[in-house]
Subunit: 210 residues, 2 copies
DNA sequence: TAGTCTAAGATAGTGACGCTATCCAGAGCC
DNA sequence: GGCTCTGGATAGCGTCACTATCTTAGACTA
């Protein structure tokens, strides 16, 4: 398949495909001649995945690159690959990257209470959680992070369901794809449902009372 | 309070404050003289809120403006204000804004099944949900949107808890602030917890099995 | 009261990001 | 033989969220 066909069958412009190749998001086509290369179904598939992640999840190109690199490491387990993928997808918030002792301790306590004993002690996500807790404490929200125990079984059930959806009869690449898509697309799905639920509960509580 | 003091007590640069005033995110100070204005605690508070929304939620400046405008409309109920706020905060995904009949129907069915009968029939979030369902169907995820009934009670519980946290003994502005912060900051909190839970469940299922 | 400082307001510039457009030289097709 | 298309390189563009500079009037300081 030539680059123009790849472009047509994915809806991504030739210029953008070249850009993605340059950035290492997509491997160059198999070289047939000095000025001719061949692209295959893997390229179509990868390109479709990249577009979904960008269009739905607004994943930055740099994170996509890290994701691709994580996928290509054939030595690691699926779990380690997924761990790297999650690190890549973790949104960088502009809050202090090194949280204070107290909030970090709160974060660790939450993880412990949830029973997530498989989470690495040095997982960057723990600091991320601590940073968010810091903001919750500072910002006049009444929500008590410790009291957020309410969330834990619910979130646990959601995540367990999502991991359960992955089809382990497939190859590594497909499984990674499913996990990453799950992380991003189902994350948006979840947030969308939550906004709808907010509207419903907000109406029940506040409608007509000013 | 002068602009330099406002800057110091919020950590936002004078140039940025001026920019926010220009963009209508922040009201100009009370004019004392041709070249002198006075800023008060409301400005400090507003500015802190804006920074949290941007730093944690990456809310675009345009959305912040819509949010401010929603807050300032004194005629509407809290619920209507919140509805406008949610519309402003809804992330624009680059997926077809006008989904096909089928996915829209799926979306409506989900809302109905969840029992969210207070959601306006013309809520833009319904189309947003439909667009995400379209992507799920197209992208090789095994998750069946209809089968996502699993999610509904969980999401409902989360949203109900969050709306319940709002302190209705406060004034309109404070309540709006709590709802918007809840939407954004607790949304990040939720996603962070979910990522941790993913790591845990991914380890249980895949660790050591390649 | 002279001199310095700071304010508000206007306008222009910056840097990151994600493309997009142009150019080039060679190969393929008709 | 002329047109199209290719991969590769490089430069440009549009948006976003600031940031910096300039001007001038008023405020404070000695």
């Amino acid at each position: 398949m030539r680059i123009s066909e790849l472009s047509e069958s994915t809806g991504v412009s030739v210029a953008t495909i070249k850009y993605y190749v340059r950035e290492g998001l997509l491997s160059p086509g198999r070289k047939l001649a000095e000025r001719l290369a061949d692209y295959d179904d893997q390229h179509v598939r990868r390109l479709r995945l990249l577009r979904v992640l960008r269009d739905v999840g607004a994943v930055p190109v740099g994170a996509l690159k890290a994701l691709v690199e994580a996928t290509q490491d054939r030595r690691t387990t699926i779990h380690d690959m997924f761990g790297e993928a999650c690190d890549a997808l973790r949104v960088e918030t502009a809050v202090p990257a090194t949280p204070d002792e107290h909030t970090r301790e709160l974060a660790d306590r939450i993880v412990e209470r949830a029973g997530w004993d498989q989470v690495r002690p040095d997982a960057p996500e723990r600091d991320q959680l601590a940073a968010i807790i810091r903001v919750i404490l500072d910002s006049g929200l009444r929500t008590d992070p410790e009291g957020a125990a309410t969330y834990l079984p619910l979130v646990d059930a959601i995540a367990a369901y999502e991991i359960d959806q992955v089809d382990d009869s497939q190859d590594r690449e497909t499984m990674m794809e499913q996990m990453v898509l799950g992380q991003v697309v189902l994350g948006e799905f979840l947030l969308s449902l939550r906004r709808l639920a907010h509207e419903h509960h907000s109406a029940l509580r506040f409608d007509g009372r000013g």
